[in-house]
C-alpha cells in the first residue's frame, strides 16, 4: 500500500494535529497528515478498516512524529528542542554501545538526521523513516545500534586460520592430562544437537530471555526492561526454562543415543569445553532445529 491510498478523516486529523502540538513547530495539519499516511502505509499491507486505523493512529507517538516532521523540514525551534532534549541522550547511548568510536558514529548519524544535501540541492533527512511507532528517542537508539553493528562488521577482520594454528593450545581443565576420549566428538555433537533442539522447542519469548541472558550477558533487570517484565519474573522464567532444557536434553540423550547418566554428564562436560565444534557444524550446514 502506498501513502496516497490512506484516507484519514479530517476530524481525526484535526484531533491528532491538536494533541501533537504540531503548531509549536509550525507543522501544518496537511504536513502531519502526510507523515501519518506514510506511517499507516508502512504498517499495513492493505488499507485497514476504520477501527484498525483509528486504533493505530491512537497508538502513535504523534508528538514525536510532529517534532520529527518539523526537524525534517528544517524548523529552527524544533532543532533547538532536538539538540537540547535528544542529542545528549544520543551521544550517551553512542558512548555506551561503541565506546571511543561512539562520538564519531553519533555525529555521522546526526548529520544524516539533519539531512544530507542531494545533488539537486534538496535535503533528505533520515527522520523521514521515523513513523511514530515508538518514542523518537528509542528509534534513534535503534538506528544507532544498527549503525554500530554495521560498523563493527565492516571493520572486523577475519582471523586467518594460520594465526589460529599458531596460537598455543587451550588448556581445558583436568582432561588435558588424560588420554583422549575416542568418543568425545560424538558426545559433544550429541549434546549440542540435543541442546539446540530443546532450545528450539522453547517458546520464542523464553528463547529470547535465554539468549539475552546466557548469550548476550544482559542483566535480569535489563532483560526485564526490554520485555516488560519484572526482574523476579525474568529470573523465575529463566530458571524454569533452564530446568526444562536440562530435563529434555538429558531425556533426549538417553532416549535417542542410549547414553547413561554418566555419559550424559560427560557429554555436557565435553560440550562445555568444545566451542570449536560449533564452527564445524556451521560449516557443514547442519541444522539441528
Amino acid at each position: 500500500m502506498i501513502a496516497e491510498d490512506v484516507r484519514i478523516e479530517a476530524a481525526a486529523l484535526a484531533r491528532l494535529h491538536e494533541t501533537s502540538r504540531a503548531r509549536q513547530w509550525d507543522v501544518s495539519a496537511d504536513a502531519l497528515g502526510a507523515a501519518l499516511r506514510v506511517s499507516v502505509a508502512h504498517r499495513f499491507a492493505a488499507p485497514p478498516g476504520q477501527q484498525d486505523l483509528e486504533t493505530y493512529l491512537a497508538s502513535l507517538h504523534v508528538g514525536d512524529l510532529a517534532l520529527a516532521t518539523a526537524c525534517r523540514d528544517g524548523h529552527d525551534g524544533a532543532w533547538e528542542h532536538f539538540i537540547r532534549e535528544l542529542r545528549p541522550a544520543l551521544y550517551a547511548a553512542a558512548r555506551t554501545v561503541a565506546g571511543d568510536d561512539g562520538r564519531e558514529i553519533a555525529d555521522s548519524l546526526y548529520a544524516e538526521l539533519f539531512g544530507l544535501a542531494a545533488p539537486d540541492g534538496t535535503r533528505r533527512s533520515l527522520l523521514a523513516y521515523y513513523h511514530g511507532r515508538s518514542r523518537l528517542l528509542t528509534w534513534l537508539r535503534s538506528v544507532l545500534v544498527q549503525r554500530t553493528i554495521d560498523r563493527r562488521r565492516q571493520t572486523s577482520r577475519p582471523v586467518p586460520l594460520d594465526a589460529a594454528d599458531d596460537a598455543p593450545a587451550r588448556t581445558l581443565g583436568p582432561r588435558t592430562d588424560a588420554a583422549p576420549d575416542p568418543d568425545r566428538d560424538r558426545l559433544v555433537s550429541c549434546a549440542q544437537a540435543a541442546l539446540d533442539a530443546a532450545i528450539g522447542a522453547l517458546d520464542p519469548r523464553d528463547r529470547i530471555r535465554l539468549r539475552l541472558y546466557y548469550g548476550q550477558d544482559l542483566t535480569l533487570a535489563r532483560i526485564g526492561r526490554l520485555l516488560g517484565e519484572s526482574e523476579a519474573t525474568v529470573s523465575r522464567r529463566l530458571e524454569r526454562a533452564r530446568r526444562q532444557l536440562r530435563a529434555e536434553t538429558t531425556d533426549h540423550l538417553k532416549r535417542e543415543h542410549g547414553l547413561t547418566d554418566a555419559a550424559v554428564q560427560q557429554s555436557f562436560e565435553y560440550a562445555a569445553e568444545s566451542p570449536e565444534l560449533q564452527l564445524d557444524r556451521l560449516l557443514s550446514g547442519t541444522d539441528d532445529g
Binding site: T55, G63, S108, S142, Q154, Y214, L226, E273, G289
Partner: protein, 396 residues
C-alpha cells in the same frame, strides 16, 4: 541444583543463532521495545529475533542503552507513609517560609529600608532559574512592600508547580508531545487480520537509509554536522508541568501575589495545605480512545468526549490507585490499578469492579478489545485474559 558443565554448554548454545532470514527494521525493533506493536506483530518479531543472532545482538545493545525513562509503576494508595515520603519535603520548607514571613512582618522590619531580608536557603534552592528570572521581573514591577510579601508567597506555590516537572523530567518530551499518559505502556490492540499484519521488512530504500553503504557513510562523515547552535542553558518552559497541577498555575501569576500575601502566616500554612491537597488531587488522564478520554481527579472519574475541552463526572467514588486504562471504543473503558483492581465502563455507562488474581499485584498495563475481552499485565509479570467482561480471568 546447578551443573556447571550444563550451564557452560547452555551458554555456548545460547550464543548460537541461525543465520539468515529477513530482519525487522529499526522502527519495528524500537516499537517492540516501547510496547508499540500489535500482538501479531510482536509474536512475529519475537519468533524471528529468538533465532536470529544479529537481531539478538541489536536487541541486546538496545537493551543496554535504553535506560528506564518510565518510573516504576507507582502505588497510588495514599498511605500516611507514602504521603510523608512524597510530600514530606514541604514541611521544612513551609516552616521556613512561615518563620521568615513572621520575621519579615515585624514592624521594625516593615519600616526598615535595609537591604532585602536574608532569603530562606531551602526555598531558594528549590526555585529554578526560570522562576528566579520571573521573580526578578516581578520585583521590578511591584512596590517594595508587595515585593517582599510576594517573594515569600510565591516560592512555595512555584515549588508545587515545578515539582511534577522535576519528577517527570525524563519523560517530559513524551508529555510535551501531547501523547496519552502512560504512553510507554501502550500496546495498540490492533485487531487487523493477520494477512494485514505485515512484519515491516527492511525494504531496499530503508536499508540503504538506515544502513548506508560505506560510500554513503564517507559522504556523511565528510559533511560537517550543520548543528544549529543550542541556546545557552535556556530554561525549558513547559505547560505540561503546570497542567499537571491544572488550576493552580494561575495562582502563581503576578497579579495574584499581593492578594495571597495579604493573609496571615497561619493562613498561609493553611493555603499550603490546600495547595498540597490540590496537588495530590491533580487530574491524571488514565485512558484515551477513539474520541474519548478518562481521567481521575481525586476520587472522581471524569470523562471527556471533546478532546479534553470539557469533562463531566462519570463516577463519583472511584477506588484509589487507578493508573492505567484502555478505551477500545468511545463508550467502553477499562481501568486498572493497584491491588489488581479493574474497573470496566460498560457501553451503558455503568461501571463494574473486578479484581484480578489474588489482588496483591498492581495492574501495570491493560489492553482491551471491547467490553468483554481484555488482557492485563500485573506488576509481577503475570498476564491474565478475560473474555467475559472481567468476571473470570485466565492466566496466560
Amino acid at each position: 541444583m546447578t551443573d556447571p558443565n550444563f550451564e557452560r554448554s547452555l551458554r555456548a548454545a545460547a550464543r548460537r543463532g541461525r543465520p539468515g532470514g529477513v530482519h525487522p527494521d529499526v522502527s519495528l525493533l524500537a516499537a517492540y521495545v516501547d510496547r508499540g506493536l500489535s500482538d501479531t506483530e510482536r509474536a512475529q518479531l519475537e519468533s524471528h529475533v529468538a533465532d536470529c543472532e544479529e537481531c539478538m545482538e541489536r536487541l541486546a545493545l538496545l537493551g543496554s542503552v535504553n535506560v528506564p525513562d518510565e518510573p516504576e509503576v507507582p502505588s497510588f494508595e495514599w498511605s500516611p507513609r507514602q504521603l510523608l515520603s512524597r510530600w514530606g519535603w514541604l514541611v521544612p520548607v513551609a516552616t521556613v517560609v512561615v518563620l521568615v514571613a513572621v520575621w519579615e512582618r515585624q514592624p521594625s522590619r516593615r519600616d526598615s529600608s535595609a537591604p532585602p531580608s536574608p532569603p530562606a536557603p531551602a526555598v531558594q534552592k528549590q526555585v529554578p532559574p526560570a522562576a528566579e528570572d520571573e521573580a526578578k521581573e516581578r520585583s521590578l514591577a511591584l512596590p517594595d512592600k508587595v515585593q517582599r510579601e510576594a517573594r515569600f508567597a510565591q516560592a512555595p506555590e512555584r515549588q508545587i508547580v515545578q515539582a511534577p516537572k522535576a519528577k517527570d523530567a525524563s519523560v517530559r518530551p513524551e508529555l510535551q508531545a501531547g501523547a496519552r499518559e502512560g504512553a510507554p505502556r501502550r500496546e495498540a490492540p490492533l485487531s487487523g487480520a493477520a494477512s494485514n499484519d505485515k512484519l515491516a521488512l527492511r525494504d531496499k530504500k530503508e536499508v540503504d537509509a538506515i544502513s548506508p553503504p560505506p560510500a554513503n557513510k564517507v559522504a556523511a562523515k565528510a559533511a560537517p554536522a550543520p548543528a544549529p547552535q543550542a541556546p545557552a542553558a535556556k530554561p525549558i518552559q513547559t505547560e505540561d508541568a503546570a497542567s499537571v497541577v491544572a488550576g493552580r498555575a494561575d495562582e502563581a501569576k503576578p497579579g495574584n501575589q499581593p492578594k495571597a500575601a495579604a493573609v496571615a502566616p497561619m493562613h498561609e500554612t493553611v493555603a499550603q495545605g490546600a495547595l498540597l491537597k490540590s496537588a495530590i488531587e491533580a487530574p491524571l488522564v488514565l485512558a484515551s480512545g477513539p474520541g474519548v478520554s478518562i481521567r481521575r481527579t481525586a476520587s472522581r472519574l471524569e470523562r471527556s468526549t471533546d478532546n479534553g475541552t470539557t469533562w463531566s463526572v462519570d463516577l463519583a467514588d472511584a477506588p484509589a490507585g487507578l493508573h492505567v486504562g484502555s478505551c477500545p471504543t468511545t463508550a467502553v473503558c477499562w481501568l486498572g490499578g493497584s491491588q489488581g483492581i479493574v474497573l470496566l465502563r460498560q457501553a451503558s455507562g455503568s461501571w463494574t469492579r473486578h479484581v484480578v488474581a489474588d489482588g496483591r499485584a498492581a495492574i501495570t498495563a491493560i489492553q482491551a478489545a471491547d467490553a468483554l475481552a481484555a488482557t492485563v499485565t500485573l506488576s509481577d509479570g503475570r498476564r491474565f485474559q478475560t473474555a467475559d467482561g472481567g468476571v473470570t480471568w485466565v492466566l496466560l
